[in-house]
Every structure is written in C-alpha cells, then in structure tokens.
Symmetry: C2
Subunit: 188 residues, 2 copies
DNA sequence: CTAACTTTTCTTACATGTATAAAAACTCTC
DNA sequence: GAGAGTTTTTATACATGTAAGAAAAGTTAG
C-alpha cells in the first residue's frame, strides 16, 4: 500500500500525480483495480471434485491461496464481499455447492458470506501479524502477556502459554474452513 | 483513524506533535492503546451458561458486540489475535469451552483462532462495506456486477442477484459462529 | 550545589494524498 | 476548418505522519 505512491507512479508513467485522479477516485480505487487485474491474471479455475462439499473447499481454498500470496492485499481486502468479477466463478461454485448440499438459496448466500468473513479475516490477521513480527518490538508484547498470566484466573491460557506462538504460526486455514463448512451443512 | 491527528491531539493536550512520539512508537500504537482502554472500560463479563458450547458462543458474541460498536476499530483490528489484556478472560472462556467439549488443548487454540478470524473478518468486511455505502458511488458497482451476470455461466448468482443486497445486509454473525463452533466440535 | 547523564520536548524538514481551479488537449457539430 | 463543449492534464496549495537532531527539563552522584 505505502510502497506505491501516486507521485512515483505518475513520474514513472511520465505524467503528473493529479492526472491520475481523473481515472481513479483515490489511491484505494487504484489498488482495487490492481487487485482485480491480479485476480484476473492469476486465478486459474481448478478442477472441481464431484462432491459439492469438496467443491466448496476447493473453490474457497483457491481464492484464499491467491490472496494470501499477495501481501499488499490486506489494505484492499477490507473491500466488500465480491472482490472482483474474476472471482465470481468461485463464488458461484461455493454458493452452488451449498445449495446442492441442501441449503436454501438464502442460506447458501449467508453461508458464502461466512466463508468470506473467515477467509478475509484469516488473511488480514495473519498478514499483519507477520508484519509486526518483522518489527519484532511488538512481537515481544505477546510474550509479556503470557509471562504475566495468572494461572488461577486464566488456567487454559497459562497452560497453552509456551505453545501459543508455534500453534498460531501453523497454517490451519483448511481445518477451520472444513469445520465452518461442516457446521453450515448441519441442518439446523 | 483519520479523524484523530497527531497534531490536533497535541494541541488539545497542550503539547507538540513530536512529543507524543516519545510515548508511542507511531499513530497505530496509540490507537491500539486506545482500543485497549476502550476494551477495559466497556467489556463487561457476561453471565456464562453452564454448557460449554453455549459459553463459547456467549463469549465470542460479547467480544464481537463490543468491537462492532466501535467503528474506528477496523484499522486497528488487523492487529494480532489477542486484542488486549482485558479480552483475555473471553479468550480463556472460549479455549476452555472447546477443551470441555472434548478438544485437545492444541485443537482448542486452533479453534479459537478460527473463531477470531471469522469475528475479525466479519467486522472488517462489514464496516468497510458500510463506509463504502456512505460514498454510494461505489455501492452501485455491485449492482453493475449483478446486472451483467450471465445466467448460463453463473446461474446461482443470477438467481440470487436481486436478493443479494438485502441478504448481505442481514446480520448473520451468530449463525455463522454457531456453524463454525458446531463444525469445530465435530470430532474428525 | 554542581556536573554528568537521562528523559522528554521542540524545531525544522520532507514525502505523501488530494482539493481546487486554471490550462490544455481533444471531439464533434455546423 | 472554426468554434463550442467536453475530457484530460497541470500548477499550486494544504494537512498529514514522522524522521533527525537540537534544546530543555528532570534526575542522580559527588
């Protein structure tokens, strides 16, 4: 986000900063367009399994992988649910998979939203955590927190204290996604 | 985030901008501290139900409500998993609930992370969507997308097109949370 | 009380996003 | 092809976060 400046872009394109603003409302819109372009060029449709539940997993994972590979995405990612027209096909697969598993269309849309919340949240949280770690002053904050834990008040956290860092370093997106999808498909 | 400027804060406190930087690494850290203070003052511990599964729901919902009531939170929310020491009690409740439901401690921590991803994602996505709607130029983008949908290629989305806006306006945090927790508790 | 040292504050400076309004380039009709 | 109208670009300006280093205030040892 910060690496790209309107001034630098303008001079590299042989123009002036304010000229860019005729084509783009603000810097964020430019980045959304970049993300859109990125998605259009890199999102390849995977082969989908026959079972609808697995189809949901594969489609969501594909989106997640594409986004996670792109660290500048976070600031843009706070966009809405439909990141770009190129991603619509994946959304379709997810909604359709949910419907095929027996959900009503309305519930399927809600289900897709939940999956999107989870996916976007995972990337945002994980990416910013990684950035903080690079700073490494702030990384020690967590150690502080866990060191001063009162085991009588917060026994589970105290118990997990030394394992917290490695545990949260693990990539558990798929597991959480599976759990969420399973839960969504349990008829309630 | 933008409403608070270091310069204005400094003059209101009767100081200079750079003096603030001795106490705070940067603006973001100041906001994290503000969030921390906000959490400490407003997060009241609710009465917890006996059943561990419901306890998870109640604790997560409490965090979610406190955060969702605080719109400037989004930029800060991309913090790590432990928002503040005042929230630790809630984290404890969630992890403990998961353990009581039969998960190992490791899986419980992962489960908490999944819940946090979902919660943070929900707030970030929903809040930014609301901000965009205020702009309302960008709100029409979605209508465009749905208007030009090819029903033969994306049948479900075409089918849901006119209901998409109201559907995504509904607050389904609780439903998604329940689904996620259910899924996490299904022994795999 | 003084002198060294540490913590805190101030001054100045720069790069950034972008508002505003004028200028230039382009397009299209007659 | 001339002139009106539209689109695109430029010049200028301002508020912002914050780096760098000087200055001041506070603290402590002798």
């Amino acid at each position: 986000m910060d690496r790209l400046t309107m001034r630098r872009l303008a001079t590299e394109v042989g123009s002036t900063p304010m000229a860019l603003y005729h084509h783009v409302r603000d810097k964020e819109e430019l980045l959304v367009l970049l993300l859109d372009d990125y998605a259009a060029r890199t999102l390849r449709r995977p082969e989908l399994p026959a079972h609808p539940r697995e189809r949901i997993i594969v489609a969501a994972t594909a989106i997640h992988e594409a986004l996670a590979a792109c660290p500048w995405i976070v600031e843009v990612l706070t966009a809405d649910d439909l990141l770009s027209t190129s991603a619509l096909w994946f959304v379709e697969q997810i909604v359709d998979g949910l419907v095929e598993c027996g959900l009503s269309l309305d519930r399927a849309v809600h289900g897709y939203r939940a999956i999107w919340y989870y996916t976007a949240g995972e990337i945002v949280v994980r990416t910013t955590a990684a950035r903080r770690r690079a700073d490494d002053d702030r990384a020690t904050y967590r150690e502080h927190v866990f060191a001063d834990l009162d085991p009588s008040e917060l026994p589970r956290l105290a118990q997990a204290a030394d394992r917290w860092a490695p545990l949260t370093a693990e990539d558990t997106y798929r597991d959480g996604l599976r759990a969420l999808v399973d839960g969504l498909l349990v008829s309630r």
